[in-house]
Amino acid sequence: MRSINHFKADLTGWIGALCMLVFAVIAIYKFNQSGLLFFLMLFLRDIFAAWFLITREISQQKATNKIYELLAYTSSALPLFYIQQSDASLFALKLCSLMAIFGFMISTLALFELGTSFGISPTKRSIRDGGLYRYFRHPMYLGYVIAESGFMLLSPLNIGLFVISVIMYWLRAKTENKILR
């Protein structure tokens, strides 16, 4: 069994894990209310993300500029702000849901591949090149972009938010590439 990092050695990991546990509780609550299996998959992702955050490897190198950390956390929270017009059609809602399922499936698979190298802000831990990482450099971001693209069907205002979100993922990926080089 992996050792849990000391609280003071990786405080951000513990805070991140706490956030993920809150998301896990919300996901299981939504599953209980709606019976939608998507939320069960999300619960699985959130529980494991929390576990990986408290058991993760100590970083070898971090982004020196705090702006990159801010960018990472802002980008993580941004999808919560997509809106839905009340007159959205059932077809649009279903398509949006299917893209979310597909996108989050890719991101969850990538999370399992990343394991204890997982982090939110750009940091160098051991590099993973198996599974989806064999084909894509940033499969987690790819999954989120796929999931979020469906929201453009629900409101034209989401197009602007989606473009900002994609730019943020691109910047995060660029920063990570620089650190992992």
Partner: protein
Amino acid sequence: MKKFFQVLTIVLALMAVVQVVTSQEQAHADPFHEPGI
């Protein structure tokens, strides 16, 4: 262990797709707004 949970994720995703496709009512009035960690 990793493979087991990856397979479980795929199975859950496929079942979720079937659930969305076959649902007749507007079950997704609140689409999946989730954080992109």
